[in-house]
């Protein structure tokens, strides 16, 4: 250990209680930061994952302009062969074509205007969790089955069960009248009210037939193996599409701008709180180091008189802060990891969480997820700001006159 480091360490413990209080403030805020950031990042990932998995997918191929104005005629020609090509070239079967139409859907007793989605029975379960959430009946057997799958709330509203008949009335691709009958083959319960109330699916063959699509569809959903691989997959899909310049690949941020905004808003408000915490810690460091510099004026005066330069004394003060903040970082991070790890196993909930949970398809208990980022981000910022806060006390040493300082009491 160099003399400077030894000096810094011993200086810290000249006022044990003051140092521990300051370290305590760091530990406390690091604990909070590790936990909240883990929770936050964990819940964003869950939010994104769950929302996207239920329907939207990580990205979609669409006709240019469809996302802003989803018109029946903004369609993709020969959608199944295109989907096959994408599957083949990506070497992935998490790719599924869909068609989207609007139809008046009637049971014997009631009618609702609904969005009807035509899906590939073979591949839809790979891109969406809905097929797996069927609680009554079963998913489509084949692409031309004249069956319909609906959400549980919708089934209740229409007062239908498995085997009942629904009449669909809408307009086809060319604007002509489209009408057909489908048997309720399955009822799913996603837990997301919005989806359970309004979603209805037909197999894509029957869908194309009913709405006069002539082999067309509206989007191809593609999931990357991991959200983190999204951009490379998107790039690969773009390459496949070069031949057709009217098609675009949109990622989830473009498909679900609300989700992205909600995350950003939450992130911003959370960081405002973190910011307050960090600034408070920085001020407590500033206060501690300022006091410690002031009460050592005489000592610093002697050192300066001996020819030690202010820069060296300043670096002593900063080394002290470095050691102190390092303690705060280490203890805070360890406690933060312990607490977060514990809660990542037993779960965690807070009042008002259910509303958020419902909106973004989250479970009503949260499980923070620890990652290097979530552990180190908060404590590193606290560390950095503590060091920054000690710059002012260190700079004051440059204005010290050795003779005057030695006369100080």
């Amino acid at each position: 250990m160099t003399i400077t480091l030894r000096m810094a360490w011993r200086n810290l413990w000249r006022h044990k209680r003051r140092t521990w209080l300051t370290v305590g403030a760091m530990v406390f805020s690091n604990l909070i930061l590790v936990f909240s950031i883990s929770l936050q990042l964990g819940s964003y990932r869950m939010m994104i994952d769950n929302t996207l998995k239920s329907y939207t997918g990580h990205m979609q191929i669409q006709r240019e302009g469809y996302n802003d104005e989803p018109k029946m005629r903004s369609s993709i020609d020969a959608i199944i062969p295109l989907a096959d090509k994408v599957r083949k070239q990506l070497g992935s079967d998490t790719v599924a074509a869909r068609g989207v139409a609007f139809a008046m859907t009637s049971s014997e007793e009631r009618s609702y205007g609904l969005q009807i989605v035509g899906v590939e029975p073979e591949f839809e379960p790979n891109v969406s969790t809905l097929p797996g959430l069927i609680t009554k009946g079963s998913y489509f057997e084949h692409s031309n089955a004249e069956e319909i799958i609906i959400g549980s709330v919708l089934a209740r509203n229409l007062r239908v069960g498995i085997g009942d008949e629904l009449t669909l009335l809408g307009s086809g691709h060319d604007g002509s009248f489209a009408a057909g009958i489908a048997i309720v083959g399955g009822i799913f319960e996603s837990g997301i009210a919005e989806i359970d109330r309004s979603m209805a699916q037909l197999p894509i063959g029957y869908f194309q037939n009913l709405f006069g699509m002539d082999g067309r569809g509206h989007n191809i959903v593609i999931n990357a193996p991991e959200l983190s691989q999204l951009s490379s997959v998107q790039h690969a899909v773009n390459n496949i599409l070069t031949a057709n310049d009217r098609l675009v690949v949109l990622d989830w941020e473009q498909l679900q701008p609300g989700l992205k905004q909600a995350i950003q808003a939450d992130f911003t408000s959370a960081w405002f709180m973190y910011g307050v915490l960090i600034v408070l810690v920085a001020f407590s460091v500033l206060n501690t180091q300022l006091m410690s510099v002031l009460e050592r004026t005489r000592e610093f005066g002697v050192m300066m008189a001996l020819g030690v330069k202010p820069a060296r004394l300043g670096s002593l003060v900063i080394t002290e802060t470095f050691v102190m903040s390092g303690l705060g970082l280490a203890i805070g991070a360890v406690l933060g990891i312990a607490m977060t790890y514990y809660l990542s196993i037993v779960g965690f909930s807070y009042p008002g969480m259910d509303q958020m949970a419902e909106r973004f398809n989250l479970p009503d208990r949260m499980y923070p997820s620890l990652s290097l980022l979530s552990i180190m981000l908060g404590p590193s910022i606290v560390f950095l700001f503590s060091l920054l806060a000690s710059i002012y006390p260190a700079i004051r040493l440059f204005f010290l006159q050795p003779v005057a300082a030695m006369r100080a009491v």
């Binding site: 003399i3 000096m7 000592e299 050192m303 008189a305 001996l306 020819g307 330069k309 003779v403 030695m406």
Partner: protein, 234 residues
């Protein structure tokens, strides 16, 4: 050749409305290897003169040369370097860094001077032995008596063999036995290592050790005489 040349030094301090004279046209030459005492009543300007010689404080006017260095022409940084490398200081009290042991106190300044680690530990050990602190190297200042603390300060001042030692009331906190031992040490260093000593004091026991005794009053030199220095037997 003169070790220190001061010409026409003036220094005033402002304290509220009052202007206090610290130095009033002081001119003095001190030979290399001399052993000089500055005496005079409290407030006569001894510390002010010592600080000016050591480049700790700048006079309002006048010129100071120490060795080959024109001190009044130096900026803050070079002044600090001069103090660090050429001059040993012993102050009246609170000389030491409280968190460092006797040995670390000596080594710290050596480290700042950029002396290599091995030399630091060898020389600090040696010098502490010379000032009679063998076995107390690892004590902190609080665990040493006033006299022992002053010895550590002396050890720190002389460890790198400066050409000049400036001491401001080094015996003020010491009993007469300890004060005598410290002065013997000074004389020994002066005679064996040819280090110039300038000591400010109102302690008549200290003055007895001087080869040249300068008396001050109201910022002026009022007398300056050579005297017989007692011989130290080894």
């Amino acid at each position: 050749m003169s070790s220190i040349v001061c010409k026409d030094l003036c220094k005033t301090f402002q304290q509220g409305e009052e202007i206090i004279t610290g130095l009033d046209h002081v001119s003095i030459e001190i030979d290399a290897g001399d052993f000089v005492c500055l005496s005079g009543p409290s407030g006569s300007g001894k510390t002010t003169l010592l600080n000016a010689m050591g480049g700790l404080d700048t006079p309002d006017s006048g010129r100071i040369r120490v060795g080959n260095t024109q001190v009044d022409e130096l900026g803050k940084g070079p002044l600090a370097d001069m103090r660090l490398h050429k001059i040993g200081f012993v102050f009246q009290a609170y000389n030491l860094i409280p968190v460092l042991t006797a040995r670390e106190n000596v080594e710290f300044v050596m480290q700042v001077r950029g002396e290599p680690a091995q030399e630091r530990s060898q020389r600090s050990h040696q010098i502490l032995k010379e000032v009679g602190l063998e076995g107390m190297e690892d004590r902190r200042p609080a665990q040493l008596s006033g006299g022992q603390q002053q010895r550590v300060a002396v050890a720190r001042a002389i460890v790198s063999k400066p050409t000049l030692v400036l001491a401001d009331e080094p015996t003020a906190n010491l009993d007469s036995v300890t004060a005598g031992q410290l002065m013997d040490l000074f004389v020994e260093l002066n005679q064996n290592h040819n280090i110039t000593f300038v000591i400010a004091t109102h302690d008549t026991r200290v003055m007895a050790y001087a080869r040249r005794l300068i008396k001050m009053r109201d910022g002026k030199i009022i007398s300056d005489e050579k005297q017989q220095q007692p011989q130290i037997e080894d």
